[in-house]
Amino acid sequence: MEILVCVTRVPDTAENEIEVNSDGTDIGRDDLVYSVNEWDNYAVEEAIQIRDRVGGSVTVVTVGDDESEEILRREMAMGADSGILLADGAFDGSDGLGIARILKAEVDKGNYDLILTGAQSEGGTAEVGGMLAALLDLPFASLVNQIEIVDEKKIKVGREIEGGNIEVSEIDLPCVLSVQTGINEPRYVGIRGIRKVASLDIPTHGAADLGVDPATVGADGARVKRMDYFIPDLGEGAEMLEGDTEEIISKLIELLKAKGGLK
């Protein structure tokens, strides 16, 4: 099975203190450390596990710049067979649709059975997977937390729905899936693993290589423009109930009744 996983490089929320920059146009990017988007990492692990079960290969692709190569190498150290960097000045400032268009052009060059994306990334819009499927005219499932390969033409996917229930659907291949965290336990990649893949070649494809019209991508092609970043005003703090456990419980019941939470 030929699997393509779309990944992206994001500021690591665990290792940064994210603040809005002074003019409110972006987050402050000095002193940030970056890593692969967490959802994408789960998608790559899933792709590797599928390949190890049924054979085939895993390719990781990202739209980014030279620095994005680092995350491609990390995913290759995890076990992806090859990486492709999609970089071009014309791609800068793309919105979700722009990214999907660039990715579509790369997908068209290959012959993939399964295309995975993370459920969402830095922007939290969770839109690229769905848009990519639409552009490719392929079936799509979002927030996938189970994948079972039925045969060469079909897979079963599970999605977590309300109340922790799992919804299982059958989807024809090729298809696009956006993967939820928790679908697996991604393996650890150490420095040694990254060094082992340091000399592998990662091809870079630009707009011309992909046949993408620069007007449809990048800042010019973007139909969504970011206007402002701000930190919401702090609301009133929570009310702390005082007294011993019995008193707290009766106060809580009173409050819940008063607000209509208990009948």
């Binding site: 290792e15 203190e17 150490g190 040694r192």
Partner: protein
């Protein structure tokens, strides 16, 4: 001599000279033994190299002290004393056994030096030894068979009970002792060596009296029978030794001789491969059995299954899925299965983790070293755990709870992923800065001493108080010191011990460069984990001291003076941090510092010094989410409480985190408190 009574060498049975058997039995016995030993050596020659021939005088001294002198045995008093008696008896009786075997071939055989008066003295000695061994063995059998001490039980997940093996061997030993007594007694009664002195109340003496009235034919038969039973049992026993836990009778002397000499250090990934060449290694750490070094396999053979390691292991006590004893026992079983005596060897490439070990088992170890400090045979555990972890890290088998801090260490040089520049936040605190100025050593500023803070003390809100107290104490002691600030990275003590060698080397290189550039003459740290890493894992650094050593010197020179403890109700106990005590031998300095504070009432917990009980582990262990019934820290706090203490003093930020948490968890807030040694000193310094 009675002409009718002959010794085995001159006897014949049904007309066949007995000497045929007395030659055949040892020849067959030795042949079988040699064959078994050769088979047992097979995995050792296929395993990883491990140079153990340095510091020969130290090795010999240790072997004499610990193996022959049984130094660690009385730590478990009854078992220890029984073992010492049996062992000493064996040492004495080995000559007797050899003599007996050869007596069957030549009736007047005497070992060189054991003729005449020497022989008489030896005869008395061996009679006493044989009798004491018999008594000790009977006591041991009663103990193992009836009282069944808890530490010998085999939990179901670790296989079958081993009591039968212990009892069988004790029975074989008793048989050997009884045979010799009967052989001697019948010999005396038969008049073989009449008139010799026999020490009263020994088995030999009793046997002589029992057999005194027997008929000559009976005596002759019993004499021969006891000889043959002894001969056969002796060689059966010898061949049985390498088949189980009694292999230690053979391997313990070499095992102690080849023991690890640098406590607190960790073996390199592969002996003889430099750090620069590590990238070229095909695989890292121990994955399959033959990845262990030969010494580690010798360890498995040597384990006597005494259970002392697991009895001391805090992970085992807390109900984590780790019992060091079974690391050895399971590995030995594996070796015996894949390198059998009968049939061909069948090495397997299947990984050990997932087969005989579980991932949680290997991550459960805090590397506290309690097992190694207890083992009478110096079996190593930490290096094996670290090697297994290296293999797991290499294969990506790292729990999610540890992946985050490891990534943060890679990116930010600390496991919390805090920004590098925030490493000096603690010196900027207004109240602190007003009373104490701390230099950050950069191109402009220099100092004689570097205070190496390390990550937890730099970043953790509570532990920053240790940093501030350390700075004030160093200032009061008149020491010109500074810190590295954002150039300091985590010391990496646990990064290496959790198997991430390459990340450790990066941290080490960055710290080494920053330290050497700063031009300091010495390093002081209040974190025992940093202390251990800097002294054991780093190279070519200026001398490193733990702050308790610095404080003690300053107190003794009069540079630091302390006011008395004001609250007479406070009873202090000192909790030995593993990386200060067991791994670096610093037990007395911190206690001496406490005792230098006037009116300080200090008691020791039952488990203290090299038997200290780990708080729960430091460094990356803070992030690991173990399966356990109880926190180690809670058990430790209970120990302090039952000792009658209400203040636990420690000298390690990780101990403080764990113990303070444990006090809250056990609901002892207000009744028990924890404080770092430096904080306590800081509170009691008399300002100049």
């Amino acid at each position: 001599m009675n002409p009718d009574f002959v010794s085995p060498a001159d006897a014949s049975v049904f007309g066949i000279p007995v000497v045929i058997f007395t030659v055949l039995i040892p020849v067959l016995g030795m042949a079988a033994f040699t064959f078994i030993m050769a088979k047992r050596m097979a995995p050792l020659v296929r395993s990883a190299s491990d140079p153990r021939l340095d510091r020969i005088p130290d090795r010999l001294f240790g072997m004499v002290k610990y193996a022959i002198g049984q130094w660690r045995h009385p730590r478990y008093l009854l078992a220890g004393v029984l073992h010492i008696i049996i062992f000493a008896g064996f040492m004495i009786l080995s000559l007797r056994s050899l003599t007996l075997v050869l007596l069957g071939i030549s009736s007047d055989f005497v070992l060189p030096g054991l003729g005449g008066i020497g022989g008489d003295i030896y005869g008395v000695l061996k009679d006493i030894a044989g009798t004491l061994v018999l008594v000790a063995v009977i006591v041991a059998m009663i103990r193992r068979g009836i009282f069944k001490p808890e530490r010998y039980t085999v939990p179901r997940q670790y296989g079958k009970d081993h009591t039968w093996e212990a009892i069988l061997v004790l029975a074989l030993i008793s048989t050997l002792m009884l045979c010799d007594m009967v052989f001697e007694g019948t010999g005396d009664a038969g008049g073989l060596h009449a008139g010799g002195f026999v020490f009263p109340l020994t088995g030999h003496w009793i046997a002589s009296r029992i057999f005194a009235g027997a008929s000559m034919a009976t005596l002759q038969n019993i004499h021969l029978a006891s000889y043959f039973i002894h001969d056969v049992v002796f060689f059966c026993f010898l061949c049985f030794l390498p088949l189980g836990k009694h292999f230690h009778v053979i391997t313990s002397l070499p095992n102690v001789f080849f023991r690890k000499l640098r406590s607190g250090s960790v073996k390199p990934v592969k002996w003889g491969v430099d750090a620069d060449a590590l990238d070229d290694l095909e695989s890292f750490g121990v994955k399959k059995f033959e990845d262990f070094t030969w010494k580690h396999i010798l360890d498995f053979y040597t384990c006597a299954d005494c259970g002392r390691c697991s009895d001391q292991c805090p992970a085992n006590a807390a109900g984590r899925p780790l019992s060091p004893r079974f690391i050895s026992v399971k590995s030995r079983d594996y070796a015996f299965k894949h390198y059998p005596i009968k049939g061909d060897i069948c090495p397997s490439d299947a990984p050990l983790v997932g087969n005989i070990f579980t991932e949680d088992e290997i991550w459960s170890c805090t590397t506290c070293g309690a097992c190694e400090a207890e083992c009478p045979l110096f079996i190593e555990y930490i290096d094996k755990i670290v090697d297994l972890r290296r293999g797991m890290v290499d294969d990506g088998m790292v729990p999610q709870s540890l992946q985050k801090p490891l990534r943060a260490l890679e990116k930010r040089g600390n496991p919390w992923g805090k920004m590098e520049r925030k490493r000096i936040d603690w010196i900027k605190d207004k109240e602190f800065a007003a009373g104490c100025e701390v230099k950050v050593l950069d191109r402009k500023k220099t100092a004689e001493t570097l205070y190496f803070v390390d990550s937890i003390t730099s970043f953790d809100d509570r532990m920053q108080a240790i940093a501030q107290a350390s700075a004030r104490v160093l200032s009061a002691a008149g020491i010109d010191f500074g810190i590295l600030g954002k150039l300091e990275k985590d010391s990496g003590n646990e990064v290496r011990r959790f198997g991430e060698e390459m990340l450790f080397l990066e941290l080490r290189d960055q710290n080494t460069e920053a330290i050497l550039k700063s031009g300091v003459q010495r390093i002081v740290t209040a974190d025992p984990h940093a202390f251990n890493a800097l002294t054991k894992d780093y190279e070519d650094l200026p001398p490193v001291e733990h702050i308790s050593q610095v404080i003690l010197k300053a107190a003794r020179s009069g540079q630091l003076n302390f006011k008395p403890v004001t609250d007479p109700g406070k009873v202090y106990t000192y909790h030995d941090p593993c990386y200060l005590g067991r791994h670096n031998g610093l037990y007395d300095d911190p206690r001496a510092v406490l005792d230098a504070i006037p009116a300080l009432n200090r008691i020791d917990m039952e488990k203290s010094r090299d038997r200290s009980f780990c708080c729960g582990g430091g460094g990356l262990m803070l992030f690991y989410e173990p399966e356990e019934d109880q926190r180690m820290g809670v058990l430790r706090v209970q120990m302090a409480e039952s000792a009658g203490a209400n203040v636990i003093v420690t000298a390690c930020p990780f101990c403080l985190v764990n113990i303070e948490d444990a006090i809250k968890v056990s609901g002892l807030e207000g009744k028990m408190e924890a404080i770092d040694l430096v904080e306590l000193v800081d509170q009691h310094i008399i300002a100049e």
